[in-house]
């Protein structure tokens, strides 16, 4: 979270709506520990990361959907995907649980 505070502050000063995705749990091998955080603003701009780059694209889509639907936030799970070469998944074989919510607090 520390490394994304500056971007969040900047976006807040521009009154942008922001969603924050945080790793809350990992199973097996995961690239980032719980607490790894990424912020997405309403324009799709990104700060931080929650994996080694494997799932960030999908997280942006989820985050924008959460902002658009006024959702209070939800748990999202990403695991290994070997059957679809280009599907979103972690190549390391682990599963990562993210909580994505609008930054309204």
């Amino acid at each position: 979270m520390r490394e994304i505070l500056a971007d969040i502050d900047h976006w807040r000063s521009q009154n942008k709506r922001i969603a924050v995705a945080r790793v809350v749990d990992i199973e097996g091998s995961g690239p980032r520990d719980p607490g790894a955080a990424m912020a997405v603003n309403q324009d799709g701009e990104v700060s931080g990361s929650v994996s080694g780059g494997c799932v960030e694209g999908a997280v942006v889509a989820e985050a924008l959907e959460i902002l658009a639907s006024n959702s209070p936030g939800r748990l999202v799970k990403f695991g290994y995907s070997d059957d679809e070469a280009f599907a979103v998944g972690l190549t390391c074989g682990g599963t990562v649980h993210l909580f994505i919510q609008p930054l309204t607090w």
Binding site: M1, G35, P72
Partner: protein, 266 residues
Amino acid sequence: MIYSTLAERIRSNKPVVLLTVIDGPNVGATLLASPNLNSLGTLGDSELDRVAARDALGELEAGRTSVRNYGPSGQVTPEDLRDTPTVRVFVESFSPPPQMIIFGAVDFTAALARVAKVLGYYVVVCDAREVFATKRRFPMADEVLVTWPEPVLTARGADLGPRDAVCILTHDPKFDVPAIQGSLATNVGYIGVMGSRKTHAKRLERLTEVGITKSKDLDRLMSPIGLDIGSRTPEETAISICAEIIGKRVGRDVPSLAKSNGPIHR
């Protein structure tokens, strides 16, 4: 208000823990707790707030981030939780960064301070010689102190714990013997001392003279400092020191120079 307080505490290196309901009633509700301060926000139930904040402050103390399960009013026993929805709470601890105190303002110090900053350390550089210990030479350090080791370790020693490191880079016995003595009196997780094997042998004699002879003390000294990776430049040496710190912290059997016998440089 929760976010701005969280950001302020993270930036000022003060401990704080953020609780978020990630499943169950009131998903997305947040509570912010800090030691000795009133908590901010609510998870949706005052009793749940009280119980979860108490647990979270314990997690913060241990530096842990985890998911905890409660009943809607903070119930924790299996009997109480029967037939109630489970509230899953993400407890995220923000501990102050680990500290690295570097004794000796030499070329290796600048490189080590840079690498330590990359790893997230709060870096303190200390040397008694005011021409060397300057903020201009070590702009990356969080603090540059012109003083001897004793006052620094007396004032800050109680704050040093398993996550912290002391690196003694002077080759000067006037400075490194008191730095070693002072560091051994703390619970700091890593004490590395620079010097050739010859310097190390001589230093052991001087430590014996001042009464440091117990193997449990001497075993804490990583000397010569760093891993046996044939590093030559200050930057390579800094990497080898930080790699040794990481390996020791997680309990891996890493190839420390302190445990090998060959030449440090080939």
